[in-house]
């Protein structure tokens, strides 16, 4: 049988399939519909140094082939996370599933503080920085849309942490490859590509947005072509591993990302339609590789004939 294990820098995952941040809570939430031990990895909902309240509802709207969300990163904060959520993550580690904590902040210092607060926490293999958060010191412009700010927040987190730092890139930029290069130089161990694309949906009769915030992040199958293009561009420009995501709901989708340069993949929105998606993707990958006599799945990474 094909060896599905992959290496994301120093982190070894038993297979390349992970759950994406914000779509699987802190672990136990999805466990009714999915055997969590099947997962190569799991990324938690974003965690800030203090609890955040998030946005007013409605926070989601379905759109053709996708959904918009403006959750506003409601989260329990670092202290409650360590107390209440880490025990379950520990269990996942025991099942040999890689655990990454998604980190959010409003200032560079806040990212650094979360990283420091998670030092020594054995339940965690890596941090994943969500740099799509607004930087309040810079008038609310997202860290992830500016190379200098992205590099700065990466460096500060790497400095505060004893774990590899993955940086999750925002697609809402003109040149995502240069963002990847900037954070790689600042010490990132891997790149997660991509976060959601900003979008809007309205109620024509009421002439008002469907989301209370006005707009939100688009995810799901609708964004897959964009995500695939960006995975390819970033993996060409950077030498650290890429975790590909955006609209994956089948093994074939996931394998496409790997051929475009992703070492591993993450599944988000598809979990809502079918909580068992990740396990089905793992099974489908095995079959696909077996049928083609591929011994190690890592062989296919970046093999696009382009």
């Amino acid at each position: 049988m094909t060896d599905l294990s992959v290496r994301i820098g120093d982190v070894v995952a038993k297979n390349p399939v992970m759950l994406a941040s914000g779509t699987a809570g802190y672990g136990p939430e999805l466990s009714g519909g999915l055997d969590m031990s099947r997962l190569g990895g799991f990324v938690t909902k974003g965690i800030a140094v203090h609890p955040w309240e998030g946005n007013a509802p409605p926070r989601i709207a379905e759109t053709p082939g996708g959904m918009l969300n403006a959750i506003g990163l409601q989260n329990v904060g670092l202290e409650a996370f360590l107390e209440d959520k880490v025990p379950y993550l520990n269990r996942m580690r025991t099942a040999d599933t890689v655990v990454a904590v998604n980190v959010i902040g409003k200032t560079v210092q806040e990212y650094h503080d979360v990283a420091k607060g998670l030092r020594g926490c054995d339940a965690i293999d890596a941090l994943e920085l969500n740099i799509s958060c607004p930087n309040i010191k810079e008038g609310g412009i997202a860290f992830g849309t500016d190379c200098v700010a992205a590099a700065e927040v990466t460096a500060a987190t790497v400095e505060g942490s004893d774990k590899p730092v993955w940086v999750k890139l925002s697609p809402n930029v003109a040149d995502i490859a240069s963002m990847g290069v900037a954070v790689e130089e600042a010490g990132a161990a891997a790149l997660s590509v991509i976060n959601t694309l900003l979008g809007m949906a309205i109620d024509l009769e009421k002439r008002r947005p469907l989301l209370s915030l006005g707009w939100g992040g688009l995810s799901g199958p609708a964004i897959k072509p964009v995500a695939l293009r960006m995975t390819w561009q970033v993996s060409q420009a950077c030498s650290i591993p890429v975790l590909g995501m955006g609209g994956i709901r089948s093994a074939k989708d996931a394998l496409e990302f790997m051929v475009c340069g992703a070492t591993a993949v993450q599944i988000g929105t598809a979990n809502f339609a079918n909580p068992n998606t990740a396990a089905e993707v793992v099974d489908g990958m095995t079959t696909w590789c077996d049928e083609r006599g591929i011994e190690r799945i890592s062989e296919i990474v970046g093999t696009l004939n382009a």
Partner: protein, 281 residues
């Protein structure tokens, strides 16, 4: 709360866009509390529709459960096409349940439109527990929506405890359910339960508050996952909004918005803010 395959036994058009779906599924029907709901995949996984849709469980009998739904959009319209024998992915039962009344309390059940199903479930649970002191006030706009009454019509066709109300007076009491309730009067220890449009829940909560009647409501917010993973389904915590500075300081900002799929869908009516900014209804 496993994800399971439910087999369609019946998909009945009750008129006025209201339908009744009956499923066979021993896994889901096994242990359902009144007020719990299911997330139904309205189309096969690889078709364009993505998110599942939440529906209250109206009745359970053996390994059969039923939901009553109104065709209001993409997902519910797809549901009208479900055929006998189809297998549908359903996650559930999800969420919490209504609290049972004390033996001396009269349970007052108020349901509006497709908010009636959880009241049917509660009436069934009360009967099963031997608590016969209950009264139901169920309302729809008019005779076109008569189908919404099906749960009570089938179980308690000529029972004085069930009072039907229509806004246009075409069936039963003319007016809304709260008026129908007050028309009969509130006597003795009472506990109220409600599900329906936000305006109705607010009216029920206000009336209950005025008469010192403990009250629980089931809310219908937009749900992405139904299991606490996406944080989309929130409703505002009243203590957070109305609390003074000190009260708020003692709470975590995380607790301003409560997850309706996990902490609910049933809440004490004074615990939450019954206002969705007009987004849903």
């Amino acid at each position: 709360m496993p994800d399971s395959r439910s087999t369609v036994l019946e998909n009945r058009d009750l008129g006025g866009g209201v339908w009744l779906l009956r499923f066979r599924d021993p896994t889901i029907a096994d242990d359902v509390g009144p007020g719990q709901f299911v997330m139904i995949a309205c189309s096969p996984p690889y078709e364009p529709l993505l998110l599942r849709r939440p529906f209250s469980i109206q009745r359970v009998e053996g390994d059969v459960y039923e939901v009553l739904y109104r065709d209001v959009g993409k997902g519910t319209h797809r549901m009208t096409k479900m055929q006998v024998g189809d297998e549908v992915q359903v996650l559930g039962p999800l969420g919490n349940s209504f609290t049972m009344p004390r033996p001396d309390e009269t349970a007052v059940l108020l349901g509006g439109g497709v908010g009636i199903p959880p009241m049917v479930a509660l009436a069934d649970a009360l009967e099963a527990a031997g608590h016969t002191r209950w009264a139901a006030y169920v309302g729809v706009s008019g005779i076109v929506d008569e189908g919404c009454f099906v749960g009570f019509d089938e179980r308690w066709p000529n029972d004085d405890r069930v009072r039907r109300a229509t806004m246009d007076g075409s069936i039963g009491f003319e007016g809304h359910v709260v008026a129908a309730w007050l028309d009969r009067g509130i006597t003795g220890p009472t506990r109220a339960y409600a599900c329906g449009p936000m305006v109705m829940l607010r009216a029920v909560a206000d009336t209950a508050g005025t008469h010192d009647v403990p009250c629980e409501v089931s809310v219908e917010t937009m749900m992405g996952c139904g299991v606490g993973a996406c944080m989309s389904c929130v409703i505002e915590n009243r203590a957070y909004r109305d609390g003074d500075e000190a009260a708020r300081k003692s709470m975590s900002p995380y607790d301003r918005w409560l997850l309706a799929c996990r902490k609910g869908p049933v809440f004490p009516s004074d615990r939450i803010v019954l206002d969705d900014g007009g987004f849903l209804h």
